[in-house]
């Protein structure tokens, strides 16, 4: 079709739209509402997803290597009689040490790999915290605190005290705020720690940290590696975990099996470790898209309906235009242009509405309670959503407008003009 024809069709489309401003506006508002809600929903949902992901990232390493106690092992009878049928009832696990051998060397080797930001060694253990009559179950992590800070940025998560306090205090401990609150302990207080093996040690709280996830803040403490080794009565090479942080955390899932194969210890990536948290993200995404698409389909039906009525009312005009020399495509473009204009400006208003709405959501106070420490709902103002929004909006109206426009193109002028 020639450009001049298109220009003429556009001129007719414009006049028809402007002659019924209210109807045009109502059609636009349908799209506006659909796109606006899409923007607001997806901004909020991805904001939440990003928050949970960030929390998962801060509380767990990208890859954690540890000794995995294997429940299945060959019984001695199977070794003796490999050909025969051997059944061992009620096999008990072997007394295995959780020790990662040559942990320091492993960490050093991992640090040399590309994309690795850092690797730290630590000693994790279950402990009981005793403070007065209170006894709480938790964990203690023996770490090189400066190395750990490099990986997890603990400096910025300290609520009281400083991480350096741990270096100057061999029997110091940095405790999660939730745990300290439960123990009613403050910085400077002493807590008694009991290991599962029954050893006890008195440690002094030199600082409090808050990562933002309840399960971590309510249970974990950091101490010097040597201190924890002493409490557990283990030697200086006893390490249970090697934590790895990457520059690009999305590569963790690929790297973990490689490390597992190379070093012979279980390597778990952060996505697997936080699967429960991340399932929520998937469900939120499904809800977001389901609701947005529903809204857009409703808006699409609105446009379909309005355009159908318009075309019905304009039958005479279509007939005379065709008599005077407008071809089918010319007539179709008149109505397609109308629906695209409605779609484009409706979507544009929708983007503004969505931006304002998501801004208001980001101002709404929200108490995460003990589980996550946030004060406002997290909102993700990603420009990509606005691009998707306008593409969605225009595409929906194009589809909704196409069928009535095609009908208009096929109007037989004789039927109308003969009366």
């Amino acid at each position: 079709m020639k450009f001049t024809s298109l220009k003429l069709s556009a001129g007719i489309a414009k006049t028809q739209l402007l002659s019924k401003p209210r109807q045009t506006l109502v059609a636009m508002l349908g799209v506006t509402f659909g796109i606006g809600m899409f923007i607001a929903l997806i901004s909020m949902m991805t904001g939440l997803n990003k928050l949970t992901e960030d929390l998962a990232m801060t509380s767990s390493p990208d890859i954690r290597m540890y000794y995995d106690i294997s429940p299945d092992r060959k019984s001695i009878a199977e070794f003796i009689n490999p050909q025969g049928l051997t059944i061992t009832h009620h096999q008990k696990p072997k007394n295995e040490s959780l020790k990662v051998r040559n942990a320091k060397q492993i960490a050093e080797q991992i640090r040399k790999r590309p994309n690795v930001k850092g690797a730290s060694i630590l000693l994790n253990s279950q402990v009981f915290y005793n403070y007065g009559p209170v006894q709480l179950n938790g964990t203690i992590a023996g770490v090189d605190i400066l190395e750990e800070d490099k990986l997890f940025d603990l400096t910025h998560k300290m609520k009281e005290g400083r991480i350096e306090n741990l270096i100057s205090n061999p029997d110091g401990i940095i405790m999660g705020t939730g745990l300290a609150k439960k123990l009613r302990a403050k910085t400077g207080d002493r807590v008694v720690i009991t290991t599962p093996q029954g050893f006890t040690q008195t440690l002094k709280i030199v600082g409090l940290f808050q990562i933002g996830i309840g399960i971590v803040d309510n249970t974990r403490s950091y101490a010097n590696l040597s201190t924890v080794q002493t409490i557990l009565q283990k030697d200086k090479s006893f390490i249970t975990d090697v934590n790895v942080k990457l520059y690009d955390y999305t590569k963790a899932k690929e790297l973990a099996p490689v490390l597992q194969k190379d070093f012979g210890y279980k390597a778990e990536d952060w996505e697997t470790a936080n699967a429960t948290l991340l399932v929520g993200a998937i469900i939120r995404n499904i809800i977001t898209y389901a609701v947005s698409i529903t809204l857009l389909i409703v808006a699409g039906f609105g446009i379909y309906n309005i355009l159908n009525i318009t075309i019905h009312n304009k039958m005479k005009d279509i007939a005379i235009l065709k008599a005077m020399g407008f071809s089918g495509p010319d007539v179709r473009s008149i109505f397609m242009i109308q629906s695209l204009v409605i779609g484009f400006f409706g979507s544009l208003m929708g983007l503004i509405f969505g931006l304002v709405f998501s801004y208001l959501i980001s101002l709404a106070p929200f108490n995460g309670g003990d589980i996550i420490s946030i004060t406002h709902l997290p909102v993700n103002f990603n420009p990509l959503f606005y691009v998707i929004g306008i593409v969605f909006g225009v595409a929906t109206t194009a589809i909704a407008g196409y069928m009535p426009s095609r009908k208009a193109a096929h109007v037989d002028p004789i039927e109308i003009l003969r009366g």
Partner: protein, 225 residues
């Protein structure tokens, strides 16, 4: 020698609904330049059907149709639309002006579609046609605000804008009072006499037909006079 603008030979057409019925039975028509032909006959004799075949809008017929020297058999709908735009002007019983547009815009639309002249020149031409019909004062009014006779005059101006080879009318005065009927007739007369415009019009109005230069009378799908 007269120039021929329209010639139809052996036009035959059937209606298939509700049952097969031959509405046109081998009709031959010829219109020369500057002729004002009135097509008359009783209701149902097929005169309107013939008109729509001649207009190129109806393509379901047998026979040969030549307009402005072009054989119009087996043309596509879009080609025929472009042909009508260039060569045929229409005046119907109802004005069929686009109600949202001004008088001037209504007249300009077919010419803008034709794209032979610049927009400014199209506007000038539209004014000329309006002046010829005594409607220049109403140029900027929305067409819906005019009276029936005025609207029909605008429709005539619109039919003239592309300087068509022939104007086709389907009961052009059917919806007008006697004053406006007279007016429209005078316009048609002037167009043929002064500007040598060819016109073919279906009409019921015997008075109107009597003043035309030639009458074709039809009955039962045939030309009887």
């Amino acid at each position: 020698m007269k120039t021929e603008v329209l010639r139809a030979t052996g036009i035959t057409k059937y209606f298939y609904e509700p049952e097969k019925f031959q509405v046109l039975k081998g009709i031959d028509v010829q219109v020369n330049k500057g002729e004002f032909v009135a097509l008359v006959g009783k209701s149902g004799c097929g005169k309107s059907t013939l008109m729509y075949v001649l207009s190129t809008m109806d393509t379901q017929y047998e026979g040969e149709l030549v307009v402005a020297g072009e054989k119009l058999k087996n043309w596509s709908q879009n080609q025929l639309a472009a042909f009508r735009n260039k060569h045929i002007g229409f005046v119907f019983q109802f004005h069929y002006l686009l109600p949202e547009f001004t008088v001037l815009q209504n007249i300009m639309i077919p010419a803008l579609k034709l794209n032979r002249w610049q927009e400014s020149e199209v506007e000038e031409r539209a004014y000329t046609k309006l002046k010829m019909l005594g409607m220049q004062d109403h140029a900027l009014k929305v067409s819906a605000k005019l009276s029936g006779g005025q609207q029909q005059r605008v429709a005539i101006a619109r039919a003239l804008i592309n300087e068509p080879d022939i104007i086709m009318g389907d009961e052009p005065t059917g919806n007008l009072d006697s004053y406006n009927t007279q007016l429209v007739f005078d316009i048609f007369k002037e167009l043929t006499d002064v500007y040598h415009q060819s016109i073919i019009a279906v009409t019921h109005d015997e008075e109107f037909a009597a003043k035309s230069s030639r009458i074709i009378e039809m009955a039962d799908g045939k030309i009887i006079h």
